[in-house]
């Protein structure tokens, strides 16, 4: 066992993992985090706590992770390379571990341009690949990037993202291979809508033997409306929403679109359960945390297994 986190135990035991997402508030009210955590507790194996997502300032991800932890929900602490240099990152990793955080997701981070401080200086001292390597070195070698020894190395289960849909498509598996070489333990993918392309990606990853070296959690985000689907298709870089999805959402009566979105998500989850190389699902129900219990129930993800 690398970290002893719940997520790691679930995956190690061969269960189909189920993770969720919680966006910290744009204020200092801990109750907002507690409320969202309440919907997810017992429903997901771990919850991603986003780090200034879309480059908008929010309560820090380690702080919101701690609140989740106090609520009995295991956090997957997200860290982006945009906002900190290697000193701050390593310091936060030590602090997060000291306070009970056991999973981390290493990301580059959305560009500042998208956020509420578009002219902020982007740090990017190291990139997401190098962050994975840093956490691994801290954990397995007990060393900082400088080479100096760490007295009590932080035992973190290391996660990263993968976008199977960004170009060039054939490079995507190689990038995944690089992340594995850097030391990643689990991957959560970008929201999947184009199932055909995803099947191809997983096939390639299987053929290269990558899925034996890393747990891949397939990213699912239920569509709430046709507007959201169009936005995801046209405005979100690296997102691949096929026309059939939009057509299907448009095809139902008004007031039933969200229901159709959930139905699509459940069908996807059903397929992922038996897809070779997929070890679980990462459900990103954006500002829809209260719907997660229902989606989990309908997707047959409940009750969550307990592994000691």
């Amino acid at each position: 066992m690398k970290s002893g986190s719940n997520l790691e135990k679930i995956l190690l035991a061969g269960h189909f993992a189920f993770t969720g997402e919680l966006g910290p508030p744009r204020g200092s009210d801990a109750d907002e985090v507690r409320k969202k955590a309440g919907y997810l507790k017992g429903i997901v194996d771990a919850v991603n706590i986003t780090d200034n997502q879309t480059a908008v300032v929010r309560m820090s991800s380690w702080a919101a992770s701690l609140i989740a932890l106090q609520e009995g929900l295991e956090p997957n602490y997200q860290m982006v390379c945009r906002d900190r240099n290697r000193l701050a990152m390593q310091a936060d990793i030590l602090g997060a571990y000291a306070l009970g955080i056991r999973n981390m997701l290493c990301l580059s981070g959305d560009h500042m341009k998208f956020g509420d401080h578009p002219n902020a200086k982007g740090v990017f001292d190291i990139d997401s690949m190098q962050l994975i390597q840093t956490v691994k070195r801290m954990r397995d070698e007990g060393k900082f990037l400088s080479g100096a020894d760490i007295e009590h190395p932080p035992k973190i289960f290391i996660g990263a993202a993968s976008n199977p849909f960004a170009d060039p498509f054939e490079w995507r598996v190689h990038r995944l291979a690089k992340k594995i070489a850097a030391g990643v333990d689990f991957i959560q993918t970008q929201c999947i809508y184009n199932m055909e392309k995803f099947r191809k990606f997983i096939q390639m990853a299987n053929d290269m033997g990558l899925t034996e070296k890393v747990y891949i959690l397939a990213g699912v985000t239920p569509m709430k409306s046709v507007g959201m689907a169009n936005y995801m298709k046209n405005k979100v870089p690296g997102m691949d929403v096929p026309d059939e999805i939009i057509k299907r959402l448009k095809g139902v009566e008004k007031g039933k679109v969200a229901e159709e979105g959930i139905k699509i998500a459940c069908e996807q989850i059903e397929e992922f359960k038996s897809m070779r190389g997929v070890a679980g699902v990462h459900l990103m129900a954006i500002e829809w945390e209260h719907k997660v219990p229902e989606i989990a129930e309908r997707a047959g993800m409940l009750p969550r297994p307990r592994v000691d």
Partner: protein, 224 residues
């Protein structure tokens, strides 16, 4: 070359407010090539300043003088006999030239008339694009001659990120994704192995002011 652009006129006006006699010093090298701070641009700016100050009933004496390079003592020397006739110097050189000018004449205020923008290339007349951040640790040898530090909006060493968008950068569809280009070029050269292995964290060498002394040369002894 170093590319600069002229500061907004109002900003220049406010920088020189209160001065009645100014010398505007142009630079005949990079900023002249990019049509920002050479002899011609000095004359144009001076004419504008002269006109604006006349209109404001606050006339100014503004002269122009363009030297070959403001980053070189040899050329700056031509100013030695002139500067003391002025209350302030305006400089249209890059940031390095402006500072070298200010260093030579520490008793006179030296004010910038341009914003130094980047190290770039000449795409067409009047059209320049950034290509180098002078990071001090060039990676072009394994990135297909395309600089990710400069051309990737996140300066990634192991790209492309998930935001690459059909060959464009996530920040702007007009901006090509550096890592997409790197991939395409290396693929054509059959050199994809260059980016298969992990690029280790960069040992940044540009976090302090840098000095270069070529082999065989040394810093002159400090004068007593």
């Amino acid at each position: 070359m170093i590319v600069a652009k002229r500061k907004p006129f109002d900003e220049i006006k406010s920088l020189i407010q209160g001065y009645k006699k100014i010398l505007n010093v142009g630079c005949g090298t990079c900023v002249a090539v990019c049509l920002t701070g050479g002899e011609k641009e000095v004359s144009v700016l001076n004419a504008e300043i002269d006109m604006a100050r006349k209109l404001a009933n606050d006339p100014i004496v503004i002269d122009g003088f363009t030297i070959e390079r403001q980053c070189d003592r040899e050329y700056l020397a031509a100013l030695d006999s002139k500067v003391d006739h002025y209350e302030a110097l305006l400089s249209m050189a890059c940031g390095a030239g402006i500072q070298f000018l200010a260093e030579r004449y520490p008793h006179i205020p030296v004010l910038p008339a341009v914003d130094t923008t980047f190290i770039g290339v000449n795409q067409d007349v009047g059209w320049y694009e950034e290509r180098c951040r002078s990071c001090s640790s060039c990676v072009l040898g394994w990135t297909g001659g395309i600089c990710p530090v400069t051309m990737c909006a996140k300066g990634l060493y192991n790209g492309p990120c998930g935001g690459t968008n059909k060959g464009s950068c996530e920040i702007d569809s007009e901006q090509p994704c550096a890592w997409y280009m790197i991939y395409e070029r290396l693929k054509k050269q059959n050199r994809l192995e260059c980016i298969m292995k992990l690029a280790e964290p960069t040992e940044w060498a540009n976090q302090v002011p840098r000095t270069l002394i070529q082999p065989g040369y040394k810093k002159p002894e400090k004068k007593a």
